[in-house]
């Protein structure tokens, strides 16, 4: 029931927000997201030692149930979602949006979808939430986005929708192979998938994986991402990059690796190679970007590439690293976007060639930028490091015969990451302020938001044990 509440609260609050038709929607959104955070925290405690699950029948004729399950990975991602959303709302508290009720309504609906994805233990339910998370984002981007928002968002939607449909085909195929009443439950799907002969697994693998690959995104499927991030309003960009891309990775871990082991084994090298190409490629592209949002977008692709590479390297520590890094990357990139949006609000541009001197004009913001950037390049004692170290370790210990090569090439991302991140810091924070309007430093709500982010960055950077313990069990399940 607790798990149902986690999804239900933002869902109902979202619907209610639509009906409010007043500024109060913002308050409602904050309240609901805080309540959700509370419940998620409670659920995390409950699920810390043993997974919690909940199940009632839903569409018996299909064999689909309303089953939710919270293990370490789910609660961790729910926690991330539950933290990021209020932080976003807090940070944007002073910003006026057109029609706040629908804006926040959509935000909450998307949150409900995300939480549902992370919690669902039934393939059909999973697909439902997968799309529920997407649709509001489509509206958010198209309605409140930048100049080219309509075609860009549309492309994003169609792109991810194609992936989703392929996944749907895969799910249906697997479900059609099951026997017994709960055709769509995770267990049935997993058994059906494992029972498939290797050649079929190899085909079904791509059906399912393509959706995740687009969502993450992995190298050749990524072109929707920079455009979308660039055109979306920043709160939505945060939802997209901090949470939605995690959906892809989460789905790989939950719905792909255990389900199609032979398919995964067959394609893992391919995926790792794509991921690694993605790391280097995205990093190189990030270097030449002048738009802050595009830069962060490519940086996100690079980071996700590392995670997906580790996901397919089938090593325990790599899996564990992904768990940690999913959370940490979510936090870091949230911080990054918050700063980017503040920059845009204050200086009215994201073009780095026109920026500079933040350290003089708004030193607090500059400090936050530096800290978050450092976390982004995985400096030790920031949260980014733990995850990245474990990911590299996982990649290194991978089963592939080329694991060392993979790791070293992926490691180039570390260097290139430093190049573009420091470039960004230099171009925005440093330099002269002569031609810049002197802007206000952080306001109280922005300060609070960034404080939470930076607090998490530092605390988890120094003492990652809670996060590690939380997800150790599921990592062990994935790769013993």
């Amino acid at each position: 029931m607790m798990l149902t509440l986690i999804i239900l609260i933002p869902l109902l609050a979202g619907i209610f927000a639509f009906m409010m038709k007043s500024e109060g929607a913002k308050g409602l959104a904050l309240a609901s997201s805080l309540i959700t955070l509370g419940i998620v925290a409670w659920a995390s405690c409950e699920a810390y030692n043993a997974p919690v699950s909940f199940s009632i029948p839903w569409i018996p004729s299909l064999g689909a149930g309303f089953s939710l399950m919270a293990d370490g990975m789910s609660t961790m991602l729910c926690l991330l979602t539950a933290i990021v959303v209020p932080v976003v709302i807090i940070t944007n508290w002073n910003k006026t949006v057109d029609k706040p009720w629908s804006f926040y309504g959509f935000m909450l609906l998307s949150q409900a979808g995300l939480l549902g994805v992370f919690l669902s233990y039934d393939a059909l339910l999973f697909y439902f939430f997968w799309e529920l998370a997407l649709i509001p984002v489509y509206f958010l981007c198209s309605r409140w986005g930048g100049e080219k928002r309509i075609p860009v968002t549309f492309k994003f939607f169609v792109y991810t929708f194609v992936g989703s449909l392929m996944m749907l085909a895969g799910i249906i195929y697997l479900a059609s192979q099951t026997s017994g009443p709960d055709a769509y439950s995770w267990n049935s799907i997993m058994q059906a998938g494992r029972a498939l002969p290797a050649e079929q697994q190899q085909i079904v693998f791509w059906l399912i994986f393509i959706a995740f690959a687009i969502k993450m995104p992995i190298f050749p499927f990524h072109t929707w991402q920079p455009d979308t991030y660039e055109q979306s309003p920043t709160p939505v960009t945060i939802i997209l990059s901090a949470l939605m891309v995690k959906m892809g990775l989460f789905a790989v871990l939950r719905w792909l690796l255990p389900v199609l082991p032979q398919g995964v084994a067959f394609w893992s090298n391919t995926v790792i190679i794509l991921s690694i190409i993605g790391i280097v490629y995205a990093s190189l592209l990030a270097i030449v970007q002048t738009d802050l949002k595009r830069l962060v977008a490519y940086s996100s692709i690079a980071h996700m590439g590392l995670m997906s590479a580790a996901a397919f390297s089938s090593s325990n520590v790599g899996m564990h690293g992904i768990m940690v890094q999913m959370f940490n990357h979510g936090i870091n990139i949230t911080g990054m976007w918050l700063i980017v949006s503040m920059v845009e609000n204050r200086w009215g541009t994201r073009d780095m060639t026109k920026l500079g001197g933040m350290a003089t004009a708004a030193p607090k913001m500059a400090i936050a930028l530096v800290i978050i950037s450092l976390a982004n390049i995985a400096l030790p004692l920031t949260n980014g490091f733990i995850g990245e170290f474990m990911l590299f370790n996982g990649l290194f210990q991978g089963a592939s015969p080329y694991h060392i090569t993979f790791m070293v090439i992926a490691g180039l991302g570390v260097i290139l990451g430093a190049v573009y991140t420091l470039n960004m810091v230099q171009r925005t924070a440093y330099g002269n302020t002569t031609d810049m309007v002197i802007a206000k430093d952080l306001t109280a709500n922005e300060y609070l938001g960034l404080f939470i982010i930076i607090g998490i960055i530092l605390i988890l950077g120094v003492y990652p044990k809670p996060l590690l313990d939380m997800t150790a069990g599921i990592a062990r399940v994935l790769v013993p």
């Binding site: 059909l124 392929m166 249906i172």
Partner: protein, 460 residues
């Protein structure tokens, strides 16, 4: 059976009403009341039909199963919904309001026959009962040349397809010596004669015409486009669904055993339908015409159910699809009829002007596009599921899903126009609170179908 009689009587009643009553509105209200009664009678029939059984009438001419009765009930419900949503627009089509409703009752009569026919003759008569009123309805807007053109086109091609159907039936009779559905079921794969195969293919082509499947779809865009919009809405929904149920019925009970003879041809038809429907819709400028093509595309998906006719999921999927598609299409047509300009540009900025109209239209569009949480998704899900379960149509499923992705392109253009474009969407008539209530109801129905399709599949 009660429903068939009742539908006929109500039809005749409407004919008398046209003589006795002067007020268009009263006629419409009478029709709606009659439909309500008819709906009630259907429910009564449904309740009195034991699940899983079927009741045979008149020397096995008609055999109404629980499934068929369920379908009848739901289609009557859709018709009721339709009448409630667009009765005002029907009144605006022409002078003969009562006649239009009478024709709708007769169509319903045909629908009932098609859901339970047990003889090819009944199939033929049912289809004709459904078709002839449609020819008339298509041409009912006499002020409009397009309407007449649509009627003539529809009529010529429809008669042509009747010829095809009859040739098929004849060949089947020649091969088996019977017109009975059950009799045809004795067709065995090992001994099937070429004549029977030819018969099956002819019948398939004729039915493909009725459900507007490629390559027999050519009439659809023009007729849907030219016919008065309220009647297009009806043709595209209930009538088409009934044709599909007839299609499914025949191919399940009669030709199910010999599916190897027709599966390939039908899969090609399905693929072609999906392709033509979705791809052609992309370039349309008029929403109405786009919806015509989209109905072809939707037919492609419904054909999945026919392809997988032997599975339980196909039967269920057909019901869900028929209802979900009908409700959403009726809904979107109801919105469309409120618009002055049927082009995409006519929708520009609707969300600013009429948020509710835009919102419900969005839900209907999402349903048509097959986005989860709406009935359209569940419908597609069931039929795709059925196709996958046959084990040999995976390629078609993937192709279909890719085409569904294309469908997003033209469906979402409506949403984009309504929400994200600036413009002054002009309405043809003000949206009353009654309209709003009905639209919201329809919208809720769509969502209910999307999250709890089980409710519509009781005992099936």
């Amino acid at each position: 059976m009660k429903a068939i009689i009742a539908a006929t009587i109500f039809g005749i009643l409407m004919m008398f009403a046209s003589i006795l009553m002067k007020d268009k509105k009263a006629m419409a209200n009478l029709a709606i009341a009659s439909l309500l009664v008819l709906f009630g009678i259907n429910i009564w029939d449904l309740i009195s039909t034991p699940a899983g059984s079927s009741q045979a009438y008149f020397n096995n001419m008609l055999s109404i199963s629980y499934y068929g009765q369920m379908f009848n009930t739901l289609m009557t419900g859709c018709t009721l919904l339709y009448a409630l949503l667009v009765s005002k627009e029907i009144q605006r089509v022409g002078a003969h309001v009562a006649e239009y409703f009478a024709l709708i009752f007769f169509i319903l009569c045909g629908v009932y026959l098609l859901s339970g026919y047990n003889n090819l003759l009944m199939l033929f008569i049912g289809i004709e009962i459904m078709s002839i009123p449609q020819y008339i309805l298509a041409g009912s807007d006499k002020r409009n040349l397009k309407s007449s053109e649509a009627a003539l086109k529809y009529f010529l091609m429809g008669s042509f397809s009747t010829g095809i159907l009859l040739m098929g039936i004849t060949l089947l009779y020649g091969a088996t010596g019977t017109f009975s559905i059950a009799g045809l079921a004795f067709l065995q794969s090992g001994t099937i004669s070429m004549m029977a195969v030819a018969g099956i293919l002819f019948v398939m082509m004729a039915l493909a015409f009725k459900v507007s499947a490629a390559p027999m779809h050519m009439w659809t865009p023009d007729v849907y486009d030219g016919a008065p919009t309220p009647f297009t809405a009806y043709m595209a929904t209930v009538v088409k669904a009934a044709a599909f149920v007839a299609f499914l019925h025949l191919f399940t009970y009669s030709f199910g055993n010999v599916s190897h003879t027709w599966l390939l041809v039908l899969s090609v038809i399905t693929a072609l339908t999906l392709f033509v429907g979705n791809v052609t819709a992309v370039f349309q400028q008029s929403v109405k015409r786009m919806l015509a093509y989209s109905s072809i595309a939707q037919a492609g998906f419904m054909l999945f159910a026919v392809l997988a006719s032997n599975t339980m999921a196909a039967q269920q999927g057909m019901i869900i699809y028929a209802v979900a598609y009908s409700v959403a299409t009726i809904g979107i047509f109801a919105v469309l009829m409120k618009m002055k300009d049927y082009t995409y540009d006519g929708f520009n900025g609707l969300a600013q002007k009429e948020p509710l109209l835009a919102f419900v239209a969005t839900i209907f569009i999402l349903s048509l596009a097959g986005i989860p949480l709406t009935g359209g998704f569940m419908a597609k899900y069931y039929v795709v599921m059925a196709a996958v379960q046959t084990g040999q149509l995976m390629w078609l499923v993937i192709f279909g899903l890719l085409m569904a992705a294309i469908s997003v392109y033209y469906y979402f253009r409506v949403i984009i126009a309504m929400y994200f474009k600036q413009g002054n969407a002009e309405l043809s008539s003000p949206v009353t609170s009654g309209d709003k209530f009905m639209l919201i109801l329809t919208c809720l129905l769509v969502i209910l179908l999307g999250i709890a399709p089980q409710l519509f599949l009781v005992n099936i």
